[in-house]
């Protein structure tokens, strides 16, 4: 045993364990999150040499497949080469910590529900039949050809996912443009953090968080806006508590009293959909009280005068009425944030899932800029990515308007550069397509007739379920790549069984824009292929095989590095070997001896040509689904700690199902419900019955639904498909609703279709089966003898 147990472990491939790859410990040990020193100093056996009593067991260093924190972990592999467990890993990001999803993630690798043969049917009236790969691929290619010959190239669409490795997201973009020649490609990160991306691009000219997680430990004031950080990113709480231990103030802006909000110095429980009014108002107080950093503003920003003038229109007296919070609280937030020597703002879907999601993020950036809290240790901004590769998934051309390296598909020079890498004529490269939700509308209108979905489950994750179902049902051909039969895959004509994250190599970029390497831990089951292989084989059969001659992820990554060279999102200096040595490198990293860029703007310059922050004026407006006497309350949605996104992966894992078996409707006691009673939540798009979770931890005018379940308990059967005009993110976090007492046999007629949308059949989305016993709901049950 030669490795120092106190050193953070970055995990070269194991076995054999190589001490040679363990030298670099980029974090200052004094910044180590609390609660870990004892562990590191324990002097025992380092985790990578911990074999318990499992004779022949090996540990493969990798990262979690779920959220954007990307915790390091080891997968335990038995003598037969099968993943059978997990062991914590002392990686910089998580320092051994894991959340329940991470601990249970390995169980999906050899889960009995895994798809192990292609499924196929020629029409949706038929049952699926297991077929050979050749038959499934041949049918898919013939359908692609038929649809594109009859209706044009753009009649076929491709929807990717941000849980894919970056190599695969790169291939999705290339496959759409080079093999399918369609402009219609987008991804489910569109439902995640594109609002933050849009805002960051507008203000800073770069689309990523400004600071690493470790900066949270150095801050004096932490503002968390619209993030249930405790449940969505549990491992990050160690950074929050570490900051609190050092005396930092904690401000949480959220309509619910979440686990982190419970401990905050200031919890602003504002009305959903009023974030930009609130942050404008905070800025107005900062200006009013002379707490701005005028020197910083003059030197490093443009547009300040206009922003200041607009903020003045939102004095606390006005914003308090809009947001439903005390005016004094707004003043208190302004003083706490602006007076702190170092302050940081982190935000997530709570302010981004809105029809003004980009603008909400811009108002937070305005706060950071006005107080000079940018680009310093402990001062800056960040956005928390929901999906494992939410950051990396949009960097290399999977997004409708982007080419690899974040290049614009509308920019002539950018197009020329990529065509050179791909070896195609510029005239062959399609132009910009539409966003994910817009593609579904196009499917509804039969403008898109065929679709391939990879690593996504829109039947649960997109808003306004009936529109989504109608859109998908209208397609003439639908293929889906997945390793479980998701609700969306169940609608397809062809389902390709593909690998889990543990069966392939690849990289992901986490919420800090730190690129990390995932390692293959076991061979895929017989009959299962990698997404890379399937895309390359389809491309070959479509006649573009020479452009897709990739044997494995490494070869794709080498092309990706080259394709990103010279852009803002520069991966050229990142190699698989460097990632294994360092535990992750933040881009931009232009050369192989460049250390990466964990913190942006340290030289005071942004990525705009003038080097300045382009501040943007924001006017608050009402959410898109109007309140009325009939629908007076706000419906908001979010995650639970035990489940991930559409639940396709986590709803199959026993421990997580046991922890949170079903959704619930969180309501305030003032409505007269008792916990467990059936409550009907009604919006303009439908109604559903959930067991009530009665708690004072939510605003009386707001109802919360977790969104991980399909109909008949699907939050997204009720949410509105209104989009932010810039980022095209749906407004998941607020729509008008009412709640009613329900009984198990109670049914109500389906509400009218929301104006502006295509009429769809009156399908009542409502459960009629008796409710299961419901005590205690949602937040788990105590286990006792």
């Amino acid at each position: 045993m030669t490795a120092d147990p106190r050193a953070a472990d970055h995990g070269a491939a194991v076995p054999p364990v190589s001490s040679g790859h363990r030298a670099a410990v980029p974090l200052d040990p004094s910044l180590a999150p609390p609660g870990t020193r004892a562990f590191r100093d324990a002097g025992g056996i380092p985790a990578d040499q911990w074999h318990a009593d499992q004779d022949g067991e090996t540990l493969v260093p990798t990262h979690c497949c779920f959220c954007g924190v990307q915790c390091g972990m080891y997968l335990r592999v038995d003598r037969g080469g099968k993943v059978f467990g997990v062991e914590p890993r002392n990686h910089d990001i998580n320092r051994m910590r894991l959340c329940p999803k991470g601990i249970n993630a390995y169980q999906q690798v050899n889960h009995p529900d895994r798809l192990t043969a292609p499924l196929m049917r020629r029409s949706r009236d038929e049952e699926f039949a297991e077929v050979s790969w050749d038959e499934a691929l041949a049918f898919t290619v013939s359908e692609i050809r038929r649809i594109q010959e009859m209706y044009g190239k753009d009649a076929f669409g491709l929807l990717g996912g941000a849980s894919l490795f970056s190599e695969k997201t790169y291939l999705v973009g290339k496959f759409a443009r080079v093999a399918l020649r369609t402009k219609h490609v987008d991804y489910n990160g569109r439902l995640c953090m594109v609002s933050a991306a849009g805002a960051n691009k507008l203000a800073f000219g770069i689309d990523r968080a400004g600071n690493p997680f470790s900066d949270i430990l150095l801050t004096d004031c932490l503002l968390i806006a619209g993030s249930n950080l405790g449940e969505c990113f549990p491992v990050l709480t160690q950074y929050v508590w570490g900051a609190r231990d050092r005396g930092a103030s904690l401000i949480v802006v959220d309509p619910r009293e979440t686990a982190v909000a419970r401990t905050a110095d200031i919890h602003v429980a504002l009305k959903p959909g009023t974030d930009s009014a609130f942050f404008n108002s905070v800025l107005s107080v900062i200006v009013e009280e002379g707490l701005t950093d005028e020197e910083y503003l003059a030197e490093h920003t443009t547009g300040w005068e206009e922003v200041k003038a607009k903020a003045a229109e939102y004095p606390p007296s006005r914003a308090a009425g809009i947001c439903g919070v005390p005016a004094e609280q707004i003043v208190q937030v302004a003083r706490t944030f602006a007076r702190a020597p170092k302050a940081m703002a982190w935000h997530a879907r709570g302010i981004e899932h809105h029809s003004q999601g980009v603008e909400n993020c811009l108002t937070v950036i305005n706060l950071c800029a006005a107080t000079g809290h940018i680009g310093k240790p402990g001062a800056g901004y960040g956005t928390l990515t929901g999906q494992g590769n939410g950051q990396g998934g949009r960097e290399h051309g999977q997004k409708a308007d982007l080419l690899p390296g974040g290049r614009s598909i509308l920019d002539e020079e950018h197009r020329r550069q990529i065509c050179e890498v791909w070896g195609i004529e510029e005239s062959e490269l399609p132009t910009a397509g539409t966003s994910m939700m817009e593609m579904v509308w196009q499917m509804q209108r039969r403008e898109i007739r065929g679709l391939i979905g990879i690593c996504n489950n829109p039947f649960v994750s997109l808003p306004n379920y009936r529109v989504v179902k109608e859109g998908y049902d209208a397609t003439e051909f639908h293929a889906q790549f997945d390793f479980f039969l998701s609700e969306t895959a169940a609608n397809a004509h062809v389902v390709f069984p593909v690998t889990t994250w543990a069966e392939d190599d690849g990289v992901m970029a986490n919420a800090e824009a730190r690129v990390v390497k995932h390692n293959k831990a076991q061979e895929p089951p017989p009959g299962v292929r990698t997404d890379t292989w399937v895309m390359c084989e389809l491309a070959r059969r479509l006649g573009a095989g020479d452009k897709f001659a990739f044997a494995d992820s490494r070869e794709v990554f080498e092309e990706l590095r080259t394709a990103s060279r010279g852009t803002v999102i520069d991966y050229y200096g990142i190699t698989y070997e460097r990632l294994e040595e360092t535990g992750g490198i933040a881009w931009p990293c232009p050369t192989t001896d460049h250390p990466g860029t964990p913190r942006l703007f340290e030289d005071g310059r942004t990525y705009h040509e003038d080097g300045k922050i382009h501040l943007q004026v924001v006017e608050w407006h009402l959410p898109m689904d109007p309140y009325s006497d009939e629908f007076p309350m706000s419906l908001t949605t979010g995650r639970t700690v035990a489940h991930f996104l559409s639940g396709n992966q986590t709803r199959r894992l026993g421990a997580l199902v046991e922890q949170t078996p079903r959704p619930w409707a969180e309501v305030h006691p003032s409505h007269g419900f008792r916990t467990g009673e059936p409550v009907r939540v009604v919006t303009r798009r439908g109604s559903e019955v959930f067991p009530a979770l009665v708690t004072e931890a939510i605003r009386p005018d707001t109802v919360f639904l977790p969104y991980h379940w399909p109909v008949p308990t699907s939050a997204n059967a009720l949410t509105i498909d209104a989009l932010d005009p810039r980022s095209k993110i749906p407004e998941y976090k607020v729509c008008a609703c009412r709640i009613e007492h329900a009984s198990e046999l109670d049914t109500v007629p389906s509400p009218p279709v929301a104006p502006g949308h295509v009429a769809y059949p009156e399908t009542q989305v409502s459960r009629t089966d008796p409710l299961p016993p419901t005590s205690p709901q949602g937040r788990g049950t105590s286990e006792r003898s």
Partner: protein
């Protein structure tokens, strides 16, 4: 005071149940979790805390004291072990005796199950699985000095009072520094026995 042990800090708990899942993964229990999560103020707050075996020191482990089969061993370093499966008769005396409500009975196997401080890990210098993964540090494994070095000013308690009985434990609780109350009240007051309100 106590040596290397678990410290429970309810102020940090986010109710995520990573400890529950991790405990299930620990090799010494093979698929069963020995931790449960309590909600202290349900309906009003999301406050929660994990309950692990407190490894009572004085009086020495009530569960072990009442065991008619002498199945519960207390090691020299104060770890109250899970009942020895070759001796346990599944009588549930330990369940009734524990003031913290920790031991469980596997009704099918008629065997007791309980946290044993992950002796398979701690013997090698590693922290118990629950404290290793706890994403928030609500479960911390180390010495009190190590805890205080990382959380300046933190106060802990290892003595709890149940009615007239005091119990000193091997596992400690973090208590609010400005409200140190000694000993810490343990459990809820008894208000009802067999349907009768005993407060009257």
């Amino acid at each position: 005071m106590m040596g290397r042990t678990i410290f429970i800090d309810p102020g940090r708990c986010i109710g995520c149940q990573a400890c529950v899942s991790a405990c299930r993964e620990c090799d010494s229990h093979r698929g069963k979790s020995m931790i449960h999560l309590d909600y202290t103020d349900e309906g009003r707050s999301v406050a929660s805390l994990p309950t692990v075996c407190m490894h009572c020191e004085d009086p020495v482990a009530p569960c072990a004291e009442v065991c008619p089969a002498d199945a519960i061993l207390v090691t020299a370093d104060g770890v109250v072990q899970q009942a020895d499966t070759t001796r346990c008769i599944g009588c549930a005396n330990c369940v009734n005796a524990c003031p913290f409500g920790v031991p469980k009975i596997d009704l099918g196997a008629k065997l007791q199950l309980k946290c044993n401080l992950c002796y398979d890990r701690t013997a090698y210098g590693l922290a118990p699985m629950c404290a290793t993964v706890c994403p928030t540090g609500a479960l911390f494994y180390g010495t009190v000095e190590e805890l205080q070095a990382e959380r300046p000013g933190v106060q802990v308690a290892d003595t709890f009072v149940f009615g007239e009985t005091e119990v000193r434990t091997g596992v400690a609780m973090v208590v609010p520094a400005d409200k140190v109350q000694w000993p810490v009240p343990g459990g809820l007051p008894v208000v009802e026995i067999n349907g009768k309100d005993v407060r009257r």
